[in-house]
Amino acid sequence: MFRKFSKEDVHSRSNVKSSVQRTLKSKLVRQFPKLEPVIDELVPKKSQVELIKCEDKIQLYCVDGQVLFFQKFDELIPSLKLVHKFPEAFPTIQVDRGAIKFVLSGANIMCPGLTSPGAALPEAPGFENDALVIVKAEKKDSPLAVGRLLMSTEDIKSVNKGHGVELLHHLGDNLWSFALE
């Protein structure tokens, strides 16, 4: 999603009204209920959220010059900066060591990388197809990517072939290095 992305793709920047900010926060909590205790710390009441509209109808939301989450369609997707701050709040899957290299260059995650001994998937019932997940790696603390499941975790376990996760945002992509002045 952010393979080609630069300052030129920014169409407009504007400050978000506080009422809209409130609905955004509640939406974020609805999507990720575990964020509730820290939401005020992430987006303080007094802070100003900035909305950056970009090419391809991507919208970034920034607090204090840091992109915290973005949105392509209806769903809010957390950026890695936010995920690193509070990784427990998001549904997590884990890839093995061999896959890290490919994930960091932006490849979709293949099923075998999710089912090998170094990787981990949640116990049944797991996550549904199309769910948003963050991707951790074997023996690493911080998550390295945010993606969307292309099949449910149970299917990944049983089929074990082909694309498992569509990568949306990873360490070192252009959104990661995107800096606001």
């Binding site: 509070f86 990784p87 060591r97 960091l104």
Partner: protein, 197 residues
Amino acid sequence: MSLRNVIYCGICSYPPEYCEFSGKLKRCKVWLSENHPDRFAQEYGSAETDETAAKLAASSIGDEREEKLEKDLLKLQSKQENREQRELAKKLSSKVVIRREARTKRKCMVAISGLEVFEIDMKKLAKTFASKFATGCSVSKNAEKKEEIVIQGDLADEAEAYIHKLLEEKGMKDVKVEQIDTKKKKKPTTDADASEN
């Protein structure tokens, strides 16, 4: 329940545990040992050799794949280093050209080109010049379709001093900054301007 504070590597911007995948591992290690020595010890251990052996033993993806991965990472690293060296050489060999162009009898303008190699934001610099010298300053494309900064007024020396300072801050002291003085050129645009007036 509180937020985590993740350290980001100053060299490759990843969290330190992913530095090995960035291809800049050597410089990352130096940075980490200088800035976060405790984290460095935790990440890379005290004895380097023991650590890799332990990693191999504990690895879940099999010795063969682990070896291949290690090889690929080394390759990536050397590639990255070569690229950096090339870029540095390019930077050192290129130069900044400051051209003073006379416009009318006592008026002139200054055009600065060759800055894009040094990762300087031209628009920002133009804005700084405009407010620093209280004059008009903009970024425009020159005859070779390269971007250049155009300052109105006879400010070549001041601009040169400022650019020298800027380059020194970036650690590139030996970059040449050249001044050229061109006499009034007959440009079609300036002619048109003159006839309008």
